[in-house]
């Protein structure tokens, strides 16, 4: 593996003692979207279309997208930019092609390669890209919505103002905040102080710019937070950078809280009840239950009135979800060895290439299943 790839090894939050030497400068460009896209393109190595990256960033709940995230070790970026539109994405890819950072030619079919100069540029970027998409793609939304609404509620009730327009319009979040409020009523000052101490300490560990953006987004008593366009103007960053910075700080904050729950009792309570693992789709779960009862694929397809291929999709999803799911029933040990050998030979994850290098009787389903199992680890 070359140097550039090695440097891209992980985007996960992992180094607990890392220091962020990232002083805030007014003219600083972050170019987070560009860096994330290029990093994805490097990993995918023209084996998938650019759209696969779009679905990854959007956090599409499809087996294909989840499997790609695992295969190409891009779990960190899963669902980190849910609001990006296809048009914005396509424009950005076009732009990267136009300035020579991405190359696409007919040989590569629909994929894109990252140019040498772009790899060099990527390598020169000192700010860390740290996300935990697959784990936090849902949690970060819940955390920020609860945080915003609780701060707004407690600061207002502390000032004896019970009539305010909530910034979050989400019945689930509302009822969570209502519950908390009932418990802490009358102790607002103390709770706000507690939250303040904890969030300040956490934010201090991260780049000043991100802390500053996070604080500007908050709404208190007679003090409404800034909108995304306002943030973009204030920090002279484009809206992609603002959105991705907010997600990055959220992932960092949650990660930090999870590392030391005892140290952050207030902040932990915002996420204690949230599942971090991605849930199986409802339909895949039904299939899973039937498999557990010992039914075969044909029988399940018949019982559920679904196509066999759909059941196969479910099985791949299950294998991705449960690391200990045994696949031997669907691919023999010998077949698994063949597939793994072919993967090593072709040094690629293109299903078509792998298929050409294994015996004819091995199906795409079996290859995908082995890939799922392999990359789950």
């Amino acid at each position: 593996m070359n140097r550039v790839l090695a440097s891209l090894e992980g985007y996960f939050l992992k180094d607990y003692f890392v220091t962020y030497k990232e002083p805030f400068r007014k003219d600083m460009k972050r170019l987070l979207l560009e860096r994330i896209l290029l990093s994805c393109f490097v990993r995918i190595n023209a084996e998938r279309t650019p759209s696969s990256i779009y679905y990854l960033l959007k956090g599409k709940r499809s087996v294909q997208t989840l499997q790609d995230a695992h295969i190409y070790k891009l779990e960190a970026f899963y669902g980190i930019y849910k609001t990006i539109t296809k048009q914005q994405f396509d424009n950005k890819v076009k732009e990267l092609i136009n300035i020579g950072m991405l190359e696409n030619n007919l040989e590569l079919e629909k994929g894109c390669m990252v140019s040498k100069s772009a790899k060099k540029w990527l390598h020169e970027q000192s700010q860390l890209l740290e996300y935990n998409g697959l784990k936090y793609y849902e949690k970060s939304d819940v955390f920020i919505e609860r945080f915003l609404l609780l701060i707004q509620t407690l600061t207002n009730t502390k000032m004896i103002n019970y009539a305010f327009i909530p910034v979050i319009d989400n019945p689930k979040v509302e009822s969570w905040v209502r519950n908390i409020y009932m418990n802490v009523k009358g102790r607002e000052t103390q709770v706000l102080k507690g939250i303040y101490n904890e969030i300040r300490e956490v934010l201090q560990k991260f780049p000043e710019l991100e802390a500053s953006i996070f604080v500007d987004r908050l709404t208190g008593y007679k003090n409404y937070g800034l909108s995304l366009p306002q943030l973009s103007e204030k920090y002279n960053l484009n809206e992609h950078d603002i959105q991705l910075s907010i997600v990055q700080i959220l992932h960092r904050v949650i990660w930090r809280i999870e590392q030391e729950k005892q140290k952050y009792p207030y902040l932990s309570s915002f996420i204690n009840d949230i599942e971090s693992e991605i849930q199986l789709t409802h339909s895949a779960n039904e299939t899973y239950q039937l498999i557990m009862k010992g039914f075969q694929v044909d029988a399940i397809a018949q019982m559920r009135n679904l196509k066999k291929n759909t059941i196969y999709d479910h099985i791949v999803e299950i294998a991705l979800h449960y690391g200990d799911f045994v696949i031997d029933e669907y691919v023999t040990n010998q077949e698994q060895q063949d597939i793994l050998y072919a993967i090593n030979q072709t040094n690629a994850y293109k299903l078509k290439d792998i298929k050409q290098n294994v015996s004819d009787h091995i199906s795409y389903f079996q290859i995908r299943l082995v890939l799922a199992k392999q990359n789950r680890l």
């Binding site: 609001t83 915003l148 701060i151 600061t155 502390k158 000032m159 019970y162 009539a163 305010f164 327009i165 909530p166 910034v167 979050i168 319009d169 019945p171 000052t189 706000l192 102080k193 939250i195 303040y196 969030i199 300040r200 934010l203 201090q204 000043e208 802390a211 500053s212 996070f214 604080v215 500007d216 908050l218 709404t219 208190g220 008593y221 007679k222 003090n223 409404y224 937070g225 800034l226 909108s227 995304l228 366009p229 306002q230 103007e233």
Partner: protein
């Protein structure tokens, strides 16, 4: 029933207002006494109190038909904020599961906001028919009239709905209804004995000012000039989102000491609330916005309302201008006009309803469905995308098709002879609507070129006389900027604070 004499007491108790504003008490009294009422009250006069208070005082439930989902949500939020909790908004944005849940508990609410589209669904209608409906409210009732500025075909079906709800007393409200439109409302709702409460909409404290300029550059120059001279809360209306954004950017650069932001319907929910509330809270001075801003906004000290683009009709202009000076202090409406502007509203009108080509394509599509006996997709968005129609265009067509029996439920009923007649008839309606709107636009343009008193001409279709200006009148009656000296607002910026200090401030930590 509660004593009429205690209405003020109830108002104080539930809404914390010491007294009624003009028209409210008269309308509420008639409703409590069981009359059907048509109320035309100017924007900002507190129309919603006219049904919110009765909703609390009457036994059963009150249903409010409201055309704009965002407006509905705003109202519910404000009511909840002021401790009116038994209120709910029903519209297509609520997912079916949640809606089912609400339906089950519908009897727990006193006030139910609903979109006219949803009211067409048998499921909810069945539930409502079995409940005691004490008051049926049609908000923005001018939507009923083909001659109203925001004609919505679904509104025409409300007469039948009122009938199936066993004729509850009915209140129709509008801020903008000419006598012609008022007649339409009464006849469409089949409530001929409606008591009319019509109040003048002219605002004596607003001066009307039209300035003719060469083009966009000059418009921006003027904006910069006036906004730097006057440090007052201001709204600038644009007819496009992108122009509102662009102008907000330019103005922020040129007027660094002013706090300027943009607002339009394409923004995320949280951003919309934050911008609205920042403005309410005097954290912002100037908002560059589209017509999406302002409904449900109750800020009393807006001093300056500027129209960067020409509105499509006098009705919208009057509504938007009516947001200025609700506290009665001298305020200004400024319309910047350049000759090129005429093209924009003209194009907007053409795009509102389907063109003849669109119509042909849709007919071909329906023909195919009819022949192949395939139903229309349940999801309207799917159909709109497939046929490349806007929401308004498809809603209009669907209503027409249903009216002519071409569609029943989601089934297409093909009939060769009838269809060619229907095609002509729909085409005729489109032509008629377009020329109606063109006339409205012409009215607006004529007003811009008016030589006599702008105030008198602006209101002449709505009321027989105006009460005259309490300060300066209009640019045709000798308006002078120098004579307008509104109070400056204080800008309290906490620039220079570190994020830790800001965090401390927001969380009220000492």
């Amino acid at each position: 029933m509660k004593q009429v004499t205690s209405l003020e007491g109830e108002l104080q108790k539930y809404f914390n207002y010491p007294s009624f504003r003009r028209g409210q008490k008269e309308i509420i009294t008639d409703i409590i006494e069981g009359h059907d009422v048509l109320g035309v009250l100017p924007t900002g006069s507190g129309k919603s109190i006219c049904y919110q208070l009765p909703a609390l005082l009457l036994d059963g439930i009150t249903i409010v038909v409201s055309p704009l989902i965002s407006l509905m949500m705003d109202q519910v939020k404000q009511l909840k904020a002021s401790h009116f909790k038994k209120v709910v908004a029903l519209n297509s944005f609520i997912n079916p599961q949640e809606r089912k849940q609400i339906y089950k508990q519908l009897h727990l609410y006193k006030l139910i906001y609903i979109s006219p589209e949803l009211l067409q669904q048998q499921e909810i209608l069945n539930i409502l028919t079995n409940m005691k409906v004490s008051l049926f409210v049609v908000d923005e009732a001018h939507c009923i009239s083909q001659w109203g500025p925001e004609f919505r075909p679904d509104y025409l079906k409300l007469g039948a709905i009122i009938e199936s709800l066993h004729h509850p007393r009915t209140l129709a409200l509008s801020a903008t209804a000419t006598p012609e439109v008022q007649e339409d409302i009464v006849s469409a709702l089949k409530k001929t004995s409606m008591k009319k409460h019509i109040y003048p909409m002219d605002k004596p404290n607003i001066a009307f000012c039209i300035e003719k300029v060469a083009g966009d550059d000059e418009k921006v120059d003027r904006l910069v000039n006036y906004l730097s001279d006057y440090q007052v809360p201001a709204l600038i209306y644009f007819s496009s989102r992108s122009m509102a954004e662009k102008c907000a950017k330019i103005l922020s650069k040129k007027l660094t000491d002013r706090r300027i932001a943009f607002y339009h319907g394409g923004m995320e929910q949280i951003d919309r609330v934050q911008i609205q509330q920042q403005f309410m809270n005097d954290q912002l001075d100037v908002i560059c916005c589209t017509s999406a801003f302002g409904m449900g906004i109750n800020k009393s000290n807006i001093r300056l309302v500027i129209h960067y683009h020409l509105p499509l009709q006098m009705e919208s202009f009057i509504q938007e201008v009516g947001r200025a000076g609700r506290d009665g202090k001298a305020s200004v409406s400024l319309l910047l006009f350049s000759q090129q502007d005429i093209q924009i509203p003209s194009n907007m009108i053409k795009n509102e309803l389907p063109s003849e080509t669109d119509l042909t394509i849709v007919f071909q599509y329906l023909y195919r469905l009819g022949i192949e006996k395939v139903a229309l997709p349940d999801n309207a968005v799917e159909t709109q995308n497939l046929l490349q129609l806007s929401e308004t265009q498809w809603r209009f067509l669907r209503y027409q098709f249903e009216k002519h029996g071409m569609i029943r439920k989601n089934k297409v009923i093909y009939h060769q002879e009838n269809w060619s007649v229907i095609f002509q008839s729909i085409k005729h309606v489109i032509v008629q609507r377009n020329s109606f709107k063109e006339n409205k636009l012409t009215e607006m343009i004529n007003w811009v070129h008016e030589k006599e008193c702008l105030r008198k001409k602006l209101y002449k279709n709505f009321q027989s006389s105006t009460s005259g200006a309490s300060d300066q009148c209009c640019s045709n009656c000798g308006f002078v900027w120098a004579k307008w000296t509104p109070e400056k607002i204080k800008a309290s910026e906490n620039l220079g604070l570190s994020w830790e200090e800001r965090l401390q401030q927001i969380l009220l930590v000492e």
